[in-house]
């Protein structure tokens, strides 16, 4: 293969290296208005009255919008109905600190900011609830209707009771993970303007097609009259699915008739946009003394925050993945998503799986310890393999999980051998394994369109609305199209940013752009190629089946002298009046989960990973230093190894942050960590000295050129690998993240008297 598997530099790298890539906040259209949002200072309150008189009189204020001024529906929600529950501007009440109440457009940011302070909101404070377990109680304050329960997912098979009775060992524990922040380096920003009867929103979004729908619904326009132009993205990680800013900008632009720009401050970005759902997971697993897992009972409570957003889909994914990549005959998963008066939870890298992977992998370690068995052996005994049935009854056809475990075992053994011994500093090695379903969880579909046109000089254009968020999808799609047609990558131009150019495409989430949009692009490229080949066949007097394209030349397989360049074939198409256009859509066939027992085929493919961590724990301070990290992954055929390694390195870094330092802290509904000096993410000095990535390159027949997905897989097993390494070093178990120095120090102090315990 000429383009697949090659370390082709990102197609946007030069622009980015030169500082020429244009991000949303870099846009400047001269005379513009600037938007600001007046936000709720209360976690839960009825709005009695809003007085904008003073703000209206401020010189330079051009518009103030309240809920009543919204021309269309005052509702958004990425999943659509019945989970579209969030007002763009609060109506009768506010449900979290930071919820938008009014929008201001003014001649400068300073004036707009000043105006927010001149608007007076009369609140009637309501009792608030911040803890999801509290919120589930009958007498808890209610955010929306009669119950705070947003949604539930149940998965069951076999007989759990029976399974526990047959078990020799039962381990029970509760695991908690906190709210996390995406902390993309680029705060949310955008510009909106009306051009004729078309609303144009230029914005950093990872859900451009859905963004168009949400803006149109809020403005009361047909979808066709809204155009979303995605700007270069300074990271997304799930957080830029939130279409609130796009709607706010469009409302102000519609009202004023002017170009309106708005950029969130870092504080707004951290404290008022969607976050990773905090999770409480109760695990009870039983196994035989031979190490066969016989029963798993799991309860998951996710804190939805004030609105549903992606929550119900995150919950389903968490439930499906909750028991890990293991064959378990008797299983019961009960998962619930609960409203509280905190910022809404939404999509974030791993979509609920990091929380449950932390739980299931810590549980595997504990079982192995109780059994006196090597934890990798225990995993190998139970791991999914070809032909395994998942917890939802799906039969797996491609699984290289055991290979990842075997390779990890070698690495872990090597590291253990070479581990340094120091007095107060203990070294430990831990491993964790997991799986990840590629694409949105059924019944959420994955419709993705792509249009490929071979131009009359033989160069190629791909049009789609697949959001490049920094992960490299534009480059990977160019490689796929180039490979399918048989041209070099630099002949392929990708137009992925403008909804006026490309067809509807799934959001950039669920690690699926390579697998799903890649397949749509490949099919579109094939259609275009077929048109070209048909014409070439006519000219060369050769059957289609005898033709192939190699290095830009179409030739007969039987007679290599019979050949024509792609350029010349394209010119012949022009003479014949043929547009060389291929269109395709792809949506992998899935079977949504049965609401009673959660059985179904929620994903078309799964990726697998095992990760190994070596850490040093300073037992005098509790400080953890990651020393080495290895990732062995089955992600199908790797389209671009450099980009894939980059995804892995970044996923490991984010996972280390989650393991050791990251937590959005909320005090009475207010985020008290709204800056990057309070919400800490890893710096270069926090990273392991050695990082190894291995891809098994196991061909996946349903993916383009054998590819699956990676983006989130990179992140999900990092936490349990680190926690297992800390345990290996110190014998303490961290059951609530993050594993800060303070927490470890306290646990070590507690542990002291009974250090010699088995």
């Amino acid at each position: 293969m000429d383009a697949i598997g090659k370390r082709i530099p990102r197609i946007d790298a030069i622009q980015k290296a030169m500082g020429k890539a244009i991000y949303a906040d870099d846009l400047n259209f001269g005379e513009m208005l600037y938007g600001k949002v007046l936000r709720s200072s209360m976690p839960h309150a009825r709005i009695k009255h809003i007085d904008t008189t003073k703000a209206q009189k401020l010189k330079g204020v051009r518009a103030i919008l309240l809920a009543k001024d919204i021309p269309g529906e005052n509702r958004i929600g990425i999943l659509g109905d019945p989970f579209r529950d969030q007002p763009v501007l609060a109506e009768d009440k506010v449900r979290f600190v930071g919820e938008p109440i009014a929008l201001i457009a003014a001649e400068s940011e300073e004036i707009a900011e000043k105006a927010t302070k001149l608007i007076k909101v009369d609140y009637e404070e309501l009792p608030a609830v911040f803890d999801p377990l509290e919120a589930m109680k009958a007498d808890a304050p209610k955010l929306h209707k009669e119950s705070n329960l947003v949604s539930s997912t149940k998965i069951s098979k076999g007989n759990v009771q029976q399974g526990f009775e047959n078990s020799d060992i039962i381990v029970e524990a509760e695991y908690r993970t906190p709210m996390n922040e995406h902390a993309y380096l680029e705060p949310e920003a955008g510009i909106a303007k009306m051009e004729g009867d078309e609303m144009i929103v230029m914005i950093c979004t990872q859900a451009p097609s859905r963004c168009r729908e949400e803006v149109a619904t809020v403005l009361g326009l047909p979808h066709s009259k809204v155009r979303i132009i995605q700007t270069t993205m300074g990271g997304g990680f799930g957080g830029k699915h939130y279409n609130l800013l796009a709607c706010q900008l469009a409302l102000l632009a519609l009202k004023t008739g002017k170009t309106v720009k708005m950029t969130l401050t870092r504080e707004e970005s951290i404290s008022t946009t969607i976050k990773r759902h905090p999770c409480v997971a109760k695990y009870k697993w039983g196994c035989s003394k031979e190490g066969k897992i016989l029963a798993a009972q799991i309860e998951i409570i996710l804190n939805a925050g004030a609105y549903a957003d992606h929550g119900p889909a995150v919950l389903t994914r968490a439930a499906v993945h909750a028991a890990g990549p293991y064959e378990i005959p008797n299983l019961k998963v009960d998962a619930h998503l609960v409203y509280t008066n905190t910022p809404p939870g939404g999509a974030m890298r791993g979509f609920g799986v990091p929380s449950v992977a932390f739980a299931h992998e810590c549980h595997m370690e504990k079982l192995a310890e109780r059994l006196g068995m090597d934890p990798i052996e225990l995993r190998l005994k139970n791991a999914f393999d070809v032909g395994s049935k998942t917890h939802t009854g799906q039969i797996l056809t491609k699984v290289a999980l055991k290979k990842t475990l075997e390779q990890a075992k070698k690495i872990a053994e090597e590291w253990r051998k070479n581990g340094e011994k120091k007095e107060s500093i203990k070294t430990g090695v831990g491993i964790a394994t997991t799986w990840y379903g590629i694409g949105s969880t059924a019944p959420v579909p994955n419709p993705s369109g792509a249009v490929v046109e071979i131009l009359y000089d033989g160069s190629v254009i791909l049009r789609t609305n697949c959001a490049e968020v920094g992960q490299g999808s534009d480059t990977v799609l160019a490689q796929i199209v180039a490979e399918e047609i048989g041209v070099s990558c630099d002949r392929v131009r990708v137009h992925s940013k403008d909804s006026a150019a490309g067809p509807w495409c799934r959001n950039t989430c669920a690690s699926a752009q390579t697998y799903i949009v890649g397949e749509a692009a490949r099919l579109a490229a094939r259609s275009a190629k077929e048109i070209l080949l048909k014409q070439a066949g006519k000219i060369l007097g050769v059957e289609r089946n005898d033709l192939q394209i190699k290095n830009g030349i179409i030739h007969s397989k039987k007679d290599l002298k019979k050949k024509i360049t792609i350029q010349d074939a394209a010119k012949e198409c022009k003479k014949a009046g043929i547009v060389i256009l291929g269109c395709s859509t792809y949506n992998p066939p899935l079977k949504g989960l049965n609401p009673i027992d959660g059985q179904g085929d929620p994903y078309a493919a799964y990726s697998y990973i095992t990760q190994v961590a070596e850490v040093e724990v300073d037992t005098e301070t509790g400080k953890v230093k990651p020393k080495k990290f290895a990732s062995i992954a089955d992600i199908g055929k790797v389209i671009n190894p450099t980009l894939a390694e980059g995804q892995m390195d970044g996923g490991v870094s984010m996972g280390l942050g989650h393991a050791l330092m990251e937590e959005v802290i909320i005090n009475n509904g207010t985020v008290v960590t709204p800056t990057l000096s309070q919400y800490l993410i890893p710096t270069s000095t926090d990273m392991p000295e050695e990082m190894i990535t291995t891809f098994l390159d196991d061909y996946e027949p349903t993916g383009p050129f054998g590819a699956k997905g990676l983006g989130e897989l990179a992140n999900v097993a990092v936490v349990p690998a680190v926690i297992a390494a800390i345990h290996d070093a110190t014998k303490i178990w961290i059951e609530e993240l993050p594993a800060t120095s303070e927490k470890i120090y306290k646990l070590l102090q507690k542990k002291q008297p009974s250090r010699n315990e088995p």
Partner: protein
Amino acid sequence: MKELNFENPTTIKFQINGRAVQVEVNPKMSLLDVLRNKLGLTGTKRGCNRGDCGACTVIMNGKTVLSCLVPAIQANGKKIETVEGLAKGEKLHPLQEAFIECGAIQCGFCTPGMLLSAKALLDKNSNPTREEVIKAISGNLCRCTGYKKIIDAVMLASQKIAGGGKNGRDRKKNTAD
């Protein structure tokens, strides 16, 4: 002592990427405001506006500064280098080449600041150790790359600079297959 005036604009003169400029600033403005809003040099990014993230890193008189924390008037008479000044026309700086070759760029938002922190290091120490590189970029947050390929790229750039194309050392560590 003259009282600080926070309303009236002042004119400052400085060198930006080797070019002399004169800008009217108000005393509340940061150097970052001037670069982005007055000079249209949007390569330098605003990630937090309070000195936490390093995305706005530029070089002032040979030293890295967080331009969001530097009052614009402090730039008066200084030499400022930004990402826009790294390449000579179409000829990329070895750091830029190395960042591209190594895959050190993902979303690219931290890239300009990273490049400037790395340049300040290499200007003083053309043959740094990995540890020195890690320290030099420790004030620049990156959420995409895990820093590994960025560190690789700075090491490669130092080889490129040392080799100067003469002994071909730069070709040895080319990560491309």
